[in-house]
Subunit: 488 residues, 2 copies
């Protein structure tokens, strides 16, 4: 429990006076869900959870906290995977009530939405005007746009459409002193000074509180072609990727990867899952072509490219979804994989990226190193192969004690991240730094970059009140960055 | 002529000692071309033009200037249109010798190039490995990648591929104190901290000196379809744009616009130019579909969409290029327009953007306001309609004195930019701020944004030595921002 001071009491009173008691929650029963990370890796504490209704209330809250020198930890759907939204003192600023879709402009192909909108509701609003918002994540039913922006979210559509950064044109942000920056422009071109937008996107709530954004919409895909392919190795999968990119161009909208171990555990734990073809293969690719043209024929190019790849021995087997239901069943094999890993015991996780040209080499090198470091460890490498982004997860050896296994987390981080670093890669491709990778970042990040980050933080948040202790440690940093609670 | 102090002499000696006399030019005959803006709007002065050979020499030069407190004005091809690379004291740092293509990685679809590479040579290097780098500008034979990055260059391919920002994955930058930030990563996903890359891109050399970049490559378009279309108004053109975007999706790679006046002056001054069809129309669109698929049929969708638009009276006339030569002739009508305007006397220029949904309304409103403000003025609105980016240029009334006309520059800026501002647009879509719009920017930019820009400049360049007086005025700002020299 936090120790309340007079300053705390005065702040809570001031916030309650302006927002009303229903917007300033302090009872343990009301705020408990806001204090924990979604997987239970971290548990924090807060004076209150504050739920402003609009941008001006957000600005008021931040301004009051700035004056009192009290930390503000912003939360959207609280679905992040790096401990970035767990409070250690101060208040939780929940954006969940800022749910207005302020404007939809189909001719400009943009939508202006508030930070608390749930991603799925943005999908639906785009759909209602005949458009498509591409960001797609497992948590899309509960994650919120503000969190997607704060973490520069990725997902399965990055290959064609880019990360959240590339999907955003303008922002509205409450700064650390409570001022509001209005950068809500829906322009494809604007060279009037420094790019403030991209400074806030991906800053995990440490530089400002994003309250609204202008998002790009796209013509709705009218035709899709999906295939599941068996390969002997990630090197074969990489050759197939090149073949598809060069042959299908922009129509290639997904190229996902999984291993034989990954497919087998999906089939083991999901009775509804159907084996795509009889044989087993060391590596699998899930491929999607799509087009905004209503009558586009995607089966033919898929058949042609996969057919010649089979003939040449570049791939071992392939199945093309003959119907929407079949395609959905192929996608389900990939989507279920995130969830079923926990049914195989402890999992040590990495979210890494390397240049696409080195992704097969990375999978081989890291798998070999981990298997050598612990016989029986089961590599579950999967994810966004076409972006060079692999979720390199390691399931525990069968029969090993789970907590003994998880105690090896940092050792395997070193093994995997050292290989990533040698390949000029990233130790956090799409999840961010938060708390879980904060103290690891200096091992791999260019020291000049770290110094610039520190300078930017001090410039934009000189009192260090915005999500303090996340991303970079400045001053008093709260808890040790690495969790000790173990996994659920 | 600048007054040389002991500090200046010591600096020149130190630079000469390290780089050699051939790299530190001080004779008027050697440096004259580096002191003027490409159209002659500005003429500055400099102690020397310094031509380092590599990144480490750049770092040395900037470090020495930082210690001496002497300004560094970076130059690439010196083709900018806003006076951003004109020196007012200090040294010119020419990046023209940093021309190494450090790496080409076709599998990652990236190329690592130094800042002094000419854009055209980057096109050619991409072509040699079967890829395509999309940035396309009139000055591509002489502009350099460093300048393209510093100004976040745009051009005719933004509709499909984005600005220079969207074409860049990593950067290497020499900071104001001479340190080097190595951010040369070729990753599609990297969420390890704040986005430094986009802070430097578009900062016009005022926050750091970009020495190299990792650029994205794309599958080469294998098929193209080009059409030239006559419309009764920009509103018709906008409806056509929507129709094409929704029907052709990603295949729509250009949607350019020009007026009857624009086409007529091209035909008047370019004897080789061919009228696309017999009749004249108030507005014209130049449209391109392209595809990376070798056998893609782009004529059929173009014919289908334009055919039904003609039937419905949405457009007045259209011609589809039946051969590569015919398509090139249609493109030439648009490309020549930039150049021929000067043959019609004085031209008051604006490079603006509005949401695409308001681009027709903007053209109408601004044309009406300017024609009312000066009877006989000839509106030459043209450009990247599909991005909402219009070069809203105003040719002088026939017979008017040119300098009397150009003396009205600021009055017309107010008229046009006030309309842009009301439409939540940008007064500099793709050219930047430089000197020419620096003192106008505070009239239209959110004051909080300006304040953030000032803070960032002070953080990254506390002594104000990097391209001082450009983009934002801090401390002693050199010349008045608005030129007085008149046009060539």
């Amino acid at each position: 429990m936090a120790i309340h001071t007079t300053a705390h009491t005065a702040l809570i009173e001031a916030l309650t006076a302006r927002l009303g008691p229903g917007s300033v929650l302090t009872e343990a029963g009301d705020i408990g869900g806001h204090l924990v990370e979604s997987r239970g890796l971290y548990r924090g504490e807060a004076l209150a959870v504050v739920r402003p209704r609009d941008r001006d209330e957000v600005a008021f809250v931040v301004g009051e906290c700035a004056r009192a020198g009290i930390a503000v930890v912003p939360q959207g759907g609280n679905t992040g995977l790096v401990g970035g939204s767990v409070p250690y003192g101060g208040i939780v600023l929940s954006l969940d009530r800022l749910q207005t879709i302020r404007e939809v402009d189909p001719v400009n192909a943009t939508m202006t939405v508030e930070a608390g909108c749930i991603l799925k509701s943005v999908h639906e609003a785009a759909d209602r005007v005949g458009y498509f918002f591409p960001l797609s994540l497992p948590s899309e039913g509960s994650c919120r746009i503000g969190g997607n922006l704060a973490t520069n979210a990725g997902g399965t559509a990055v290959l064609r459409y880019g990360n959240m950064r590339e999907l955003t044109l303008g922002l509205e942000v409450v700064l650390a002193d409570g001022r509001i920056w209005n950068g809500l422009k829906g322009l494809r071109k604007d060279n009037t000074g420094y790019d403030l937008r991209d400074l806030f996107i991906g800053s995990e709530g440490t530089l400002g509180i994003i309250t609204a954004a202008v998002l790009k919409l796209f013509p709705k895909p009218q035709a899709r072609g999906t295939a599941f392919i068996g390969c002997t190795s990630p090197h074969q999968a990489l050759k197939l990727f090149e073949r598809l990119r060069d042959g299908a161009g922009d129509q290639l909208t997904a190229f996902e990867y999984m291993t034989d171990f990954g497919l087998e555990i999906v089939l083991r734990h999901r009775p509804a899952a159907v084996r795509p073809f009889a044989g087993r293969h060391p590596s699998y690719a899930l491929v999607e072509l799509s087009s905004a043209q209503r009558d586009a024929d995607l089966q033919s190019p898929l058949e042609a490219i996969l057919g010649s790849a089979l003939e040449e021995g570049l791939i071992e087997d392939a199945v093309i979804g003959a119907s929407g239901a079949q395609s959905a069943a192929l996608w389900a094999l990939r989507e279920e994989l995130s969830e079923v890993q926990r049914l195989e015991g402890g999992s040590i996780k990495h979210d890494v990226a390397v240049p696409v040209s080195r992704v097969a080499e990375f999978i081989d090198a890291a798998s070999g190193a981990c298997e050598a470091a612990m016989p029986g460890i089961r590599v579950c490498a999967f994810g966004h192969f076409g972006d060079g982004n692999i979720h390199f997860n390691l399931s525990q050896p069968v029969g090993m004690d789970k907590s003994a296994y998880l105690a090896e987390w940092e050792r395997f981080n070193r093994i995997v991240h050292d290989i990533v670093h040698r390949m000029n890669g990233s130790i956090s491709a799409e999840h961010g730094i938060g708390l879980i990778k904060r103290d690891e970042l200096p091992l791999y990040k260019d020291p000049v970059a770290l110094d610039l980050m520190r300078s930017l933080k001090q410039t934009l948040d000189p009192r260090n009140i915005l999500n303090p202790g996340k991303v970079i440690a400045i001053g008093a940093v709260g808890p040790a960055a690495f969790f000790t609670a173990g996994q659920p």
